[in-house]
């Protein structure tokens, strides 16, 4: 069996917080706290979590924009952690990133052709003629036209800018594209255009996404697998359909319930407010409506539930429990 497209092994990223006094002790925060992840080529992977859950840090470590504190990140079996700068640059051709803000991520003083060509220009031995051809190929793939190459970012709308960002990510024909909230800054009608471009590339160009989002519907639309992250740890992973239809972890359930629905009965169970953080036990226990003594004393590990899912919960929800099932959107 060939190596997975991306593999993270026990990845940890610790940040040092500013201390209260200049030379006083510093607090540390474990933004990513022991994450294992395997992304198979052709099966896009979504990471869902709330702000501060560590999802963006995880994405940045996965693509070597940040160095993890410990653990391993491998692209197609090759370690990104130990790679030299030169090797890393070569490996970046296979992995690109799309950011949330289509305004902040494009240099306003550069023409689109230069912005889009940038990842390619970092590689050796690409001729000028090939560069131009690849730029227009890339622009076309995202539904822009060749003449757009001569324009500047300010001449485009938000949705078009995000497509420029995708064109830039695509130009090296990467196998993996890490997309961090790619559509959350966009209006609904524009969001649909960008999502269509993304799924189109998935099908035609064989791009696999590692998609970071807080929006379950967006993740479900693009991804085959999902991981739900809470306080730096995966609490549940599995195939998208099963996981969203019958979540095993109470936090996944809470996320699904909290998402507003177009047709919903009011007064369904709402997530409880966050209370003080837990000590030794499950990080979610203080918020969990099902928490028992064991949850407060012993942190659960991710374990197999059959059907491809894993959940870090001592008392996973039964597949057909909670008779309400899933509310329709």
């Amino acid at each position: 069996m060939s190596a997975p497209l991306l593999e993270l092994i026990d990845l940890v990223k610790v940040y040092r917080l500013a201390g209260e006094r200049l030379f006083g002790p510093h607090a540390h925060v474990r933004a990513v706290d022991g994450v294992d992840l395997k992304v198979t080529a052709g099966r896009s992977y979504g990471i869902v979590g709330e702000s501060g859950s560590g999802k963006s840090t995880l994405a940045r470590c996965a693509i070597a924009l940040e160095r993890p504190t410990s653990g391993e990140a491998c692209l197609m079996g090759v370690s990104l952690i130990g790679a030299s700068r030169r090797d890393l640059r070569r490996m970046r051709a296979h992995m690109q990133m799309i950011f949330q803000d289509p305004y902040g991520s494009l240099d306003p003083r550069q023409r689109v052709e230069r912005i889009v060509a940038e990842p390619l220009s970092l590689l050796d031995g690409v001729s000028g003629a090939e560069m131009t051809a690849r730029v227009s190929e890339s622009l076309q793939a995202v539904g822009l036209v060749k003449t757009d190459a001569r324009k500047y970012p300010h001449e485009f709308s938000g949705g078009q800018r995000q497509r420029i960002a995708i064109a830039r990510a695509l130009i090296t024909r990467p196998k993996l594209v890490v997309a961090d909230e790619p559509v959350s800054a966009l209006d609904v009608s524009v969001q649909a255009q960008v999502l269509n471009v993304m799924t189109d590339l998935q099908q035609r160009a064989g791009v696999t996404y590692l998609l970071i989002s807080h929006d379950l519907a967006v993740v479900e639309h693009v991804c085959d697998e999902i991981a739900v992250i809470f306080r730096g740890r995966f609490v549940e992973t599995g195939p998208t359909g099963i996981l969203l239809a019958a979540p095993a972890h109470p936090y996944t359930r809470a996320l699904i319930d909290a998402a507003p629905k177009l047709r919903a009965e009011r007064g369904r169970r709402r997530p409880a407010p966050t209370s003080a953080s837990s000590g030794a036990g499950c990080a979610y226990a203080p918020r969990c409506p099902y928490a028992q003594d064991r949850c407060r004393s012993e942190a659960p590990r991710l374990r197999e539930l059959g059907d491809g899912r894993r959940a870090a919960c001592h008392f996973p929800l039964p597949a057909n429990g909670l008779a309400s099932g899933r509310a329709t959107v």
Binding site: S51, D187, L195, Q202, V218, H221, T328
Partner: protein, 324 residues
């Protein structure tokens, strides 16, 4: 009726002359009612809310009818506005971090309105601020009164903003994207809080949002705005289940839905929305709408009654019905 808006036009000054941001907007709100204002960026939804709150930018001009509790809002001077604003009408903004004063304690900011409008003493107002913080579910209110905004989380700041809005028992609260910057679980808590407070106090709510689902869960009635126009209005359920206007239909179809086929094509709306104030003379959606005919862009379509309290501005409604 608590609030009556009829044929409201709003012009903002630009270097090239006035730009019409809101065109012929008509809607109303009953005492204790809930109204959702949904629209994408540039639709004029926030400007409409600011007009009701008397917070329009310098040089803005409005025409048409704008009545609140019998007052003609368009004719109020700044002195009269001060009496109304924060007292009878209060507003909650999207970003509590920018709406709150970073250099003042939460308690003082909540107390300010009560000193101003209700003539309370400083200490009485501060004591009441703590009670209000308790009502909006902030833990440890006696201590939080002395906190600064930066010491609170996003959800807590939004609760503090709501406490501030409640201070003078307003008849109407306008919430402009109150949960857009928050996580879904916190969003659900804040929206539940607003619903609970509304039940307790009987105040009316205008909820401005880009998110149809947020409005579906929290508002009895909705107006759908695009390019400064109210495209469709009516009971929320009706509008979402049987959208009449091509724009409402397109907006609903563009949403990725939980449970839909993975990677399936989403219905998109071709083109981009006109920048605020640059809509054509006729229907703002003309050109992007698949049903556009010449007459669409020529003149403002009339608001057609589709049922009790249900309107749509479109001359192609029959065609829209037929092609769906």
């Amino acid at each position: 009726m608590l609030l009556e808006v009829e044929a409201l036009n709003l012009d903002l000054p630009t270097p090239t002359g006035p730009a019409r941001i809101v065109r012929e907007a008509t809607f109303g709100l009953d005492l204790g009612g809930t109204l959702g204002v949904v629209g994408e960026s540039g639709s004029g939804k926030t400007m409409t809310a600011l007009a009701i709150m008397g917070l329009l930018p310098e040089g803005a001009r409005i025409s048409g009818k704008l009545r609140f509790e019998g007052y003609d809002l368009a004719a109020l001077d700044e002195e009269e506005w001060r009496h109304l604003r924060g007292n009878r009408i209060a507003m909650i903004f999207q970003e509590p971090m920018t709406a709150l004063n970073p250099l003042q304690t939460i308690g003082r900011q909540i107390a300010e309105g009560m000193v101003l409008h209700r003539g309370l003493s400083r200490s009485a107002a501060l004591a009441e601020a703590a009670t209000l913080l308790e009502r909006v579910g902030l833990p440890d209110p006696a201590r939080r009164v002395r906190s600064y905004p930066y010491e609170l989380s996003g959800g807590q700041r939004q609760r503090a903003m709501i406490a501030m809005a409640l201070g003078c028992a307003p008849k109407l609260i306008i919430a402009d994207e109150p949960t857009t910057a928050l996580d879904v679980t916190v969003q659900a808590q804040i929206l539940d809080l607003l619903a609970r407070l509304r039940e307790e106090t009987g105040m009316a709510l205008i909820l401005v949002s880009h998110d149809l689902a947020v409005i579906a869960e929290n508002c009895e009635r909705v107006i759908v705005m695009y390019g400064g126009m109210v495209m469709e209005s009516g009971p929320t359920r009706d509008v979402l289940e049987r959208p009449a206007h091509p724009y409402t239909r397109a907006l609903l179809a563009a949403r990725p839905q939980l449970g839909a086929t993975r990677g399936g094509k989403l219905r998109t709306i071709p083109g981009v929305a006109p920048p605020a104030g640059e809509a054509p003379a006729g229907c703002a959606f003309a050109g992007r709408c698949p049903l556009t005919i010449e007459a669409c862009a020529a003149a403002m379509p009339p608001a057609l009654a589709l049922g009790p309290d249900r309107y749509a501005r479109c001359i192609r409604l029959d065609e829209a019905e037929r092609t769906q």
